[in-house]
Symmetry: D2
Subunit: 354 residues, 4 copies
Amino acid sequence: MIKVGIVGATGYTGAELLRLLAVHPEAQVIVITSRSEQGKPVADLYPSLRGIIDLVFSLPDVDQLAQCDVVFFATPHGVAQSMVASILERGVKVIDLSADFRIRDVPTWESWYGQAHGAPELIPQAVYGLPELNREAIASANLIACPGCYPTSVQLGFLPLMEAGCIDISDLIANSASGVSGAGRQASIGALHAEVSDSFKAYAASGHRHLPEIVQGLNDMALSASGPAGGSADTSVNLTFVPHLLPINRGIHSTLYATLTDLSVDVQALFEARYADEPFVDVLPAGSHPQTNSVRGSNVCRIAVHRPNGGAKVVVLVVEDNLTKGASGQGIQCMNIICGLTENAGLAAPALLP
Amino acid sequence: MIKVGIVGATGYTGAELLRLLAVHPEAQVIVITSRSEQGKPVADLYPSLRGIIDLVFSLPDVDQLAQCDVVFFATPHGVAQSMVASILERGVKVIDLSADFRIRDVPTWESWYGQAHGAPELIPQAVYGLPELNREAIASANLIACPGCYPTSVQLGFLPLMEAGCIDISDLIANSASGVSGAGRQASIGALHAEVSDSFKAYAASGHRHLPEIVQGLNDMALSASGPAGGSADTSVNLTFVPHLLPINRGIHSTLYATLTDLSVDVQALFEARYADEPFVDVLPAGSHPQTNSVRGSNVCRIAVHRPNGGAKVVVLVVEDNLTKGASGQGIQCMNIICGLTENAGLAAPALLP
Amino acid sequence: MIKVGIVGATGYTGAELLRLLAVHPEAQVIVITSRSEQGKPVADLYPSLRGIIDLVFSLPDVDQLAQCDVVFFATPHGVAQSMVASILERGVKVIDLSADFRIRDVPTWESWYGQAHGAPELIPQAVYGLPELNREAIASANLIACPGCYPTSVQLGFLPLMEAGCIDISDLIANSASGVSGAGRQASIGALHAEVSDSFKAYAASGHRHLPEIVQGLNDMALSASGPAGGSADTSVNLTFVPHLLPINRGIHSTLYATLTDLSVDVQALFEARYADEPFVDVLPAGSHPQTNSVRGSNVCRIAVHRPNGGAKVVVLVVEDNLTKGASGQGIQCMNIICGLTENAGLAAPALLP
Amino acid sequence: MIKVGIVGATGYTGAELLRLLAVHPEAQVIVITSRSEQGKPVADLYPSLRGIIDLVFSLPDVDQLAQCDVVFFATPHGVAQSMVASILERGVKVIDLSADFRIRDVPTWESWYGQAHGAPELIPQAVYGLPELNREAIASANLIACPGCYPTSVQLGFLPLMEAGCIDISDLIANSASGVSGAGRQASIGALHAEVSDSFKAYAASGHRHLPEIVQGLNDMALSASGPAGGSADTSVNLTFVPHLLPINRGIHSTLYATLTDLSVDVQALFEARYADEPFVDVLPAGSHPQTNSVRGSNVCRIAVHRPNGGAKVVVLVVEDNLTKGASGQGIQCMNIICGLTENAGLAAPALLP
């Protein structure tokens, strides 16, 4: 059994790690830390885990964490930066679900997160934990920077088009909508039921922290593109990203817009071929519209591709569960890869429907 | 008191007409028809109207409807076409909330609605009931074709930009999301609570009936544009329109994307100026994000404009209540104009929040 | 026009007062106070009021409030106690929506609210603002203690049975469920969308602050009962009250259980007769089940009565909007009575459906 | 691997069986039948099962079903009656999730379900599938009548009190509320999102089909009671049962009321002792209030017991997932018992939260 530690398990991504790992056939959580809930049984905070997880929150302690094979960080940004080095030194693998190591350019990170980066020297060894892009690098990584929830959906949706080099990368649009668990489990008026339910809105239309992370990923894809536009000197992707808040608990839906530079491309075939062997990406039949509840609680990302009126505009519809494929499930997928397990170990259960 | 008749008041737009007209200071509903519910008190179908509306559903009858000053059609498409002529002949004004007279090009209508048009000879006299565009024509019209719910939000959002001629009309995107009342009050598995709630999806990504209506309106605006692109020979708007289904009862949110051809435009000032005198369009301060619950049950359309990173892309956020400004409220606004009443008579109540 | 002031208008009951008074034909809000939001336009907090209410939050000031005819308190308990005396002195009527003056027995109040009462000398002059019970006293009152949301529904549901003296008052049960706006507009984890939505629970099963208020009211009814049990020496009502939290924004549903001591009573006729002249109580036909959305945003309380299998158990189903008939609407109803207006002035609009 | 067949898998209980069996370590679904969807891949109806279940709906066929070890019926009432005999004859175990064999008294069944019973001769061998009551009988049964969703929650909540004989069985109240999936996956206006969401109501207050099933179970418990009231000649339970419709997808909450005849009973200890060894009943600490989301998608039933003010009234709060412990999960629990597997095989995953 792989021994797992979780730092900062009081939020929704921490709870999702616990839910999934509780029935993982080859991993066991042995340490859960929380500064605020020290000494409290996990099941007191999450009654859904009564009788399933018997652990008690402890203060973060490197010696204790060093007994683990893998340590997850489910903390706000800034926390992992201050602890990861000492854990890596002890030979423990780290999977960080926060934003701390996702962006390679330190000034960019510092500008969006409004603080100095606490461990810039670790950034070069951090592997971006999107298996569909980086499976081999993940397998041998010591430090995984797990992608954000929006970035996972947007990158998986654009990936086949970017790699094929068949779209105009100077004008990409990602219209995304997320369930409210993406805002975390902090008391705030804006996330109250009476404010969120039976309503809908955009937010951060002028700029969101996930934008630079997505752009970095798309630029990487553009650089390695194999199609007609590949190898071009100009790879600066221009993306307009507008997130919205859905009155649902879990789920992200991204509606992506791009203009084909090569009208002869069979986009349906392109997507099906690209993801044929991916265990967690499901390309729907032509004409489909994925619904977020089809991935509720599952690690699957479902995608459909449309060309309205057969024109140059391609519309990609992507759904994922923001807490699973968009966070904790993806982290476990990375753990499975690192530890040489079947990639869907502990991640095989279908979505909860209805 | 203006005497009002409603044909086909068993659906949500009919119920919304009744809700609003129940407290309209200068109008009174005297006839309500329904083939399926004939003889049934309205309040039996809608307990919310008990003690407020005492009418009984009757079979549609031209003599009875001829006693009205104004008759609303809240029927599925195809019904108004067969009855409007006989009502107009009796000197009664008709406000049609259905799609029957919205599209001027008959073959286009017939293609999208899959049936022959029943009264093409009436189309030329039908006035498109968007007061912000057509107030004067509405005032003297006998037949109003009330805009669809999506088209109202999309056209009001693009209008200032189109009139200013400052955007590239060959690549417009409307990413819209509607509450489930837009699907009507028919039994269907797809609209069940267990299928819709806690979920989100796009639909009709390859083409929706509201697309030709929106494009017709945008083309009209392009033709009359005053800016640099105005008067251009090529006014064929190219719009990608993707509707989505929200797990809310009422409300439409449209996120519109266009590329500025003139970067010097102050889009905030442009919108504020255009709508300064409009009683039902509220341009929010720069940096705002309108929420659908701010217009729940109200006839107001709220709009915010963004230019992410100050670039060429302009993002317009529009909210309305699909049953009010998107249907019945707009119909009553037209009635007020036709009858020379204050335009917000019966429409002054603020949104229900929360 | 009646000049109205509102103390503490930043919560949901304050917002509901503003919504209703905005279109009240004979009242106008001239002062709105808030310590936390001083200087901020009301419409900045509630975008739904943009263009409708132009006031700015001010610090509570007796001289300013003295210019009003009526002042509402929409404050947490404890606040009205400290300010009411100085306002009453200036000849202004006070309608308190908080719990400060609802309970006549000071030690009981102090025990449930955990603090010393700040103005016990005012309690005797406070009139409990349930018009269906106290219409005449309200008309001449200077200080109204508006009933709580649960107490309104429970008392209106038991009232005809209590007055008829036909039930066993030693074993009453009120199983109530409230929408989440009842918890107020404070940031708390328990009221987050992700915690409340798609879920349901009881709370305070061992005792809730509204219990003593309800019991006081039921005891009063028992004392004045006209039926067989009336005038009995023993009037100590025994009520089990269990509140529940509904994943809806507005609405209370109370399911009441009592045992008939007189099986010959026609409970349907009893309820219809008792409420025949009440403008805001609607007794549904036999066999009905009221739904909370039939009173959403309306001041109406809808009631149905059942005797399962025609036995001794009587089940009363009561719905109201907790913010309207359960708080602000009822307060305005009291204001109308005090000011000699039509009782439904400003309260005539039907519920918002769907 | 146990070979499983499912008759009538197009509804929500069928989908729930598929969800749970998809990851059951020792069972495999080999036949799924549906008259209406014959020839259609299961994953076309339920996209959440794409890549997980490859079966195609077939017409019900006894020879094919005879290849199974266990056949589940997830059909409307009346269907199992017509097919079970021929399947049992082939030596296959049958677990019926419908109401066909739950009620032992044939006239009672026929009265509530409005049709003649199709296989009364099988009723004596049907074992009521509530493991907490009937574990041994289930182990050797050929035909299991799985309890209804409401009856499971009400019976588990009253069971310890009934067995202890410490309550007045002549006046029991069950105030229950169910998520909308309990109404099935049929198109109906009453189950539309726009009718159900943001609302709440009671239904069938004068009598519901689950009442006789619950009363039968409670009477059995009374007959076998061990406490002071045990063995009494009068065991006719009198239960008032009022179901309500919750705007949630899954979950039942029952609030039960009874009067203690023995005030010395420690109800908390009583419940803890009764359920100490039950794998799927979790008695919460004193003072708790279970929330339905703590069992969403899980087979656990959570219970809390209260005595308001320490009086004679006992209030029991019970939550379960109506599709899991209230239907398909309980059916699988029975299958595990019948087949000698660990009782929680395939049922160990925690609830989905949030």
